[in-house]
Amino acid sequence: LAEIFDPAAWKALFPWVPLIFSGFLLNILISIVSMSAGMLMGALLGIVQSSTFAWVRFIASCVSLLLRNSPWLVILFFAMYFIPVNIVMLGNYIFVPVWMKAAIALSLPAAGFFSEIVRGGIAFIPRTQWEAAESLGFGFWRTISFIILPQALRRMIPPTINLYCAIALGTSLATVVGAQESISTVQIILNTVRAPGIMFTSYGFILYLFFLYIFPISLASRRMERALDRQQGGKG
């Protein structure tokens, strides 16, 4: 047991801390890229889910369900095997790095969950708003973009932040498919450094890093949620 808390492990790990940090930066990069892409796709999917055509709604909700319910690891494998290494565009070969594939993969569940957030936000707006917009001669897309979404936006912020936290936690899975993120760097370190208790220390350090990054974000989201609730309570 004493081996685990051996200060020698910390000493051995110390020179590698910058490497772990650079790996963690990749985690953050993946999370930001996949979250932005996921929000773009998810917003579209969410709006389509509120469409007035029943069959459009049905297809969109099936797609959303598929995206939300696939295990992330399986989606990552899909992306690894099916996105080509080079994409040919206008005669140029564009190299797709592994982390980019991971980001694309993670953007899919992000899109699924974000579409649900958008749908929930839209459903939260009273029906009368739609009717008022319709009586003013607004079409579906203009009602959505100028009347419904601006009002729904505030409600959507806390769950979106929660989703970002989940995606950021999910980026750790990218190690399985070979992106050089923080856990991969730790595995490299463990292959090079031999010191008692180094495994405990280095994996503990990863947990610590993630906690340090995610916890403040999730705290902020919770605070915002409570503020919104209070406002709503004041109104009603």
Binding site: L1, N69, P71, V74, G170, V176, L190, L207, F211, I214
Partner: protein, 248 residues
Amino acid sequence: VNSISDFFRDLYESTGWNFSIFYMEWDAKHYFEGVVLAVQIAFWSVLGMLVVGVLVAAMNMSAIRPLRWLGIAFVEFFRNTPTLAQLLFLVFGIGSSLGLTKYGPQGQEPFISALQFVILALSLHYGAYCGEALRSGIEAVSHTTKEAAESLGFNHFHTQRYVIYPLAFRIALPAIGNNVIQVIKASSVAYVVAVPEALYVASEIWSTRSNVPEMMIVVLVTYMTMMWMGSLATRKLESLLAVPGFGR
């Protein structure tokens, strides 16, 4: 059974779509074992999650302040770090360092196998979520109910055991059901520590038969089915446990 296997063999011979698990005996057996293991992981993790959840909720609601702090720290730690990192930390950081995962000299089973660590990690991670769901369920039980129980002479433990928790569990059930789905989905991380569950077995099969797309579709369908069954089961449980006059 023969016609199914003939169909998939024909499919392979005519189109090249190689769903080998449907007509090759070894693949079928192997994959079936993987699915069984995945179901086992999900089942035990859900049970573990409920146990951890009840403990955490009890800690978070307790009158003893240090216990409450411990509960909050537990929840925040497990909710804000990745499951994968927790699993690796448990298996390698704690398991390997303390020699818990070593096989004995005569090949005896390790003290805690990788499979058990996966179940432990999933139980702890989702137990934190489940604890939060239960806590909001407990908070949703009206104060008057508690007072009524007290006026009937229930002591603190009995009030919790017979009045508060049964109600809170029912209120929290939709949220818990959601967690059940998440557990099933997350059970695929067992792949990382080489537990031969569905995804791992599929990857073994697709690397020997080189039928990646087919096996991936099979894996996806497998997980979808598992999740569908999980959500059916929780929905069934909800309707079985529904308190008349509560909810919709």
